[in-house]
């Protein structure tokens, strides 16, 4: 395994996907992270995180990850906001209030 703190994931594609899933699986219910924040934890960019979650994130709480402005990506927006609302996540103007529930702290 790549040490979690070396900041560089140079392994094949699936290892990045797995690293994304591992981190996203740790987001507690009621808390929300961003593609960029997840990416910083494992040394990849926001789009790489989004790609991993959209292609194979079904087994982890993918809906607890939004854009840096708290908005949800269009194809899953309605479903995602429903799932987050069910966990009591506060929203304003259709965006998650990240200042209240952002993860990690």
């Amino acid at each position: 395994m790549t040490p979690a703190d070396d900041g560089a994931v140079s392994d094949p594609v699936l290892d990045v996907d797995e690293a994304v899933f591992d981190v996203v699986d740790r987001i507690p219910p009621g808390r929300v992270s961003t593609y960029g924040a997840i990416g910083r934890l494992i040394g990849v960019g926001p789009r790489r995180v989004a790609r991993a979650l959209s292609s194979g994130g079904g087994a982890v709480p993918w809906y607890r990850v939004v854009r840096a402005d708290g908005s949800a990506a269009e194809p899953v927006r309605v479903r995602q906001l429903e799932l987050l609302a069910a966990e009591g996540v506060p929203m304003r103007d259709g965006r998650v209030v990240l200042s209240a529930v952002g993860w990690p702290d």
Binding site: G36, G45, D69
Partner: protein, 198 residues
């Protein structure tokens, strides 16, 4: 220099437009081929220079919204320093932090201190949105990419462009070209920013 405030868009709409403009630009950066970074994008600028320019603008968003005044030397000036090892990652990282800063609760109620003076954050974000939109076209044109711009972003950028002085702003915005008022919005936008749609 700018006489009108942005009564046309709500803060929620401005943030949404900015996010889309970033996303549109990110798509074009993502599409740059490895051998295209040194190609010319604008007169005297490479493709890398253009992306670095937008990185620099994005890096400035958090400190300006935090109330810091514009000051030279705050960030690197060299393209390679701004882009880092991987231009796409460099852009994405700066863009993500800029979006976070604009999304803070009262960010769009603030005043930022630009080089030209105090400016409402609503004006600042619309200017960034227009800049990202026009430069997305520049980048796509330089790299044989997708030059079709998001229609709502074109409209927003046109509204910003209408506020610019007739002669442009030296060093910032090129003077407008003549264009028919019946031309499509994207053609009028590009002309407003001194670019000939081809």
């Amino acid at each position: 220099m700018f006489t009108e405030t942005m009564a046309d868009f709500s803060p929620v709409e401005l943030l949404e437009l900015f996010q889309r403009a970033q996303n549109q630009f990110t798509d074009r950066v993502d599409a740059v081929a490895p051998d295209q970074w040194e190609d010319e994008s604008l007169p005297g600028w490479t493709v890398a220079d253009l992306v670095a320019h937008l990185v620099s603008e994005a890096l400035w968003v958090p400190p300006l919204l935090a109330g810091e005044p514009y000051a030279e030397g705050r960030f690197p000036e060299d393209t390679s320093d701004l882009l880092g090892d991987d231009p796409f990652t460099g852009w994405e990282s700066a863009a993500d932090n800029a979006l976070s800063a604009f999304a803070e609760d009262d960010a769009l109620q603030r005043t930022v201190h630009l080089e030209r003076g105090p400016t409402p954050a609503t004006q600042y974000i619309l200017e960034m949105t227009a800049d990202l939109t026009v430069h997305a076209w520049d980048l796509a044109r330089a790299t044989d990419g997708d030059t079709d711009l998001d229609g709502e972003l074109v409209t927003a950028a046109l509204i910003f462009g209408e506020q610019l002085p007739e002669g442009g702003v030296p060093g910032l915005f090129d003077p407008p070209l003549d264009v028919s008022s019946a031309a499509p919005p994207q053609v009028r936008l590009l002309a407003r920013f001194g670019r000939k749609a081809t």
